[in-house]
Symmetry: C2
Subunit: 360 residues, 2 copies
Amino acid sequence: MRSKHGGNIYEVAKKYGYEESEILDFSANINPLGVPNSLKNAIISNINSLVNYPDPNYRDLVKAIAEYNGINEEYILPGNGATEIIFKFIEALSPKKALILAPTFSEYERSLRRVKCTVEYFYLDEKNDFKLDKNRFMESMNNDYDLIVLCNPNNPTGQIIDRKILSSILSKARENQTNLMVDEAFIEFVDSEELATMLEYIHEYKNLYIIRAMTKFFAVPGIRLGYGITSNKEIISSILDKREPWTINTFASMAGRVLLTDKEYITQSKDFFNRERKFMYDNLKNLNFIEVYRPEANYIFLKLLKEMDSLQESLIKRKILIRSCDNYINLDSRYFRAAIKDRNSNNKFIKAMKEVLYES
Amino acid sequence: MRSKHGGNIYEVAKKYGYEESEILDFSANINPLGVPNSLKNAIISNINSLVNYPDPNYRDLVKAIAEYNGINEEYILPGNGATEIIFKFIEALSPKKALILAPTFSEYERSLRRVKCTVEYFYLDEKNDFKLDKNRFMESMNNDYDLIVLCNPNNPTGQIIDRKILSSILSKARENQTNLMVDEAFIEFVDSEELATMLEYIHEYKNLYIIRAMTKFFAVPGIRLGYGITSNKEIISSILDKREPWTINTFASMAGRVLLTDKEYITQSKDFFNRERKFMYDNLKNLNFIEVYRPEANYIFLKLLKEMDSLQESLIKRKILIRSCDNYINLDSRYFRAAIKDRNSNNKFIKAMKEVLYES
């Protein structure tokens, strides 16, 4: 794959002659509590299970996901990371015209273009802190759209869309015979996740498709596990009929149950992010020369307000890697995204930011 | 996925009320030497690397594959198992009309139908032990075919196609502007692999696509790793441009180098199969009531010659699972495939076969 994402410390290490391990990677939004011990132990105990093919129906995995979310097993499509699910839903829905946010995660547009869908943008307004304006959005909805894709909280801006707004959009979408995909890859990081997720609408609305990732919250981007949720069982069925067998590896298929029942890790992580999100925001918001948008997930979105050499370049010289947002539509080289990490790393980031902002 | 393959001991265990571990699984063709220790150690030592995204370009993996095969890195497309590569090559080539063997591995047809390709069959002749007849095959080739798919050694029949025949087919295919895909998923098991593989033609023939699996020979169906080889770099490029990022997990991406340089495991496995293949064949070929085809890979293809209740059912009562081949085109319920396993298991299989053949 050749598109640009955070997390590519391999390229950066090579370019600057660093060891990968030397770089403090704020470009990928991964839970700094690290790979849960429960999963490490399960992998080590079950290492010989690699000798078997995974269950092609992934029954245990589907059951674990269903129990965790309190929904019907038939509504669940497990996948090789959330991106496989995005691609498969879009391939199966095969929309002719779609509406996505600008800025937002780049893989929606990539998978839409792959099925030759016309993509239109809803431009989030900087003046409104890149929050979604209900009235303006509802006005932009029309019968022409086969699909609307929203990301909640949005990546890279970190803003939540209020559920009241989402439910109005969902309802109008159904009237318009428009499908609505809501990517909740970062929802577990949100304070009051249960007030943010669209799960409760899944049974009633067959036009709703929710995307979930295990990658970010459980700190396992390497294992490749995510899932989709919809009560449109025909779509799940048609995807299962067409897709390659065994896209999910044995450890990932095992990881579902292990991670989703690791209550200690889940609680610790939620407490951790409530604390560190506030710490990062409080320490950055009053710095001169940057605008800091209040974060709702595990990353913080920034705008550089002064003319200077690249912020990213200045930080990488201090072995800190952040995500430049210049390749997002509706953003430019003044915008950046940084992960929220452990306190020690966050302090280094804040210190480095002060240095590069005030010294240059 | 809902198609039928070997290896689904999950269904069988559930149906018969067995533990999965109780069943001797001869239905999946996996090297009985098991998951190489080199890989187990590498996974355990690198378990924390799950916290990072895999390198999206999988450079180390591609390099390891290139070195192992002595070819250009640019010719290699790594994938989530050989099946991802089959699907991606076929999607990218988008053939209108294709020729495949009957019988052969079912995923070729599945992936061809997915792109709405017309599929025609070359019926392998039982009278010729299901070997490919050169003259008849060459006559059946015509300009209408965009793609020919061959499996070498063929699954489930276990027969090798002579390389002289393959090179004639390849050359005529190029004249006809037909692409040729050769699935070498089982090639490492073949005695004199270097005389069987089509690798040496890859540079000269841009219409050649080779499929390789790590699954079978290295006993890691759970890790999901395979690769494709072609000198048609435009096709690789177009696949990389369109596919989801990170279809290969961290452990699989690491496994390439570890496994392909594990010379001890490779040598041991080759010696083991030369010995056990002969042992199985010698012990089965003289049994009454079955026809046994001389195996070239790590499985043995059988035809039941007497009227009896299902051979598969009779064996599963003895907790031995074989692969019924009744869902292959050009085969029926008299045909079976059984893996070649360790000596102890092979002896149990031979004993059970004698019992069910002679007692019923």
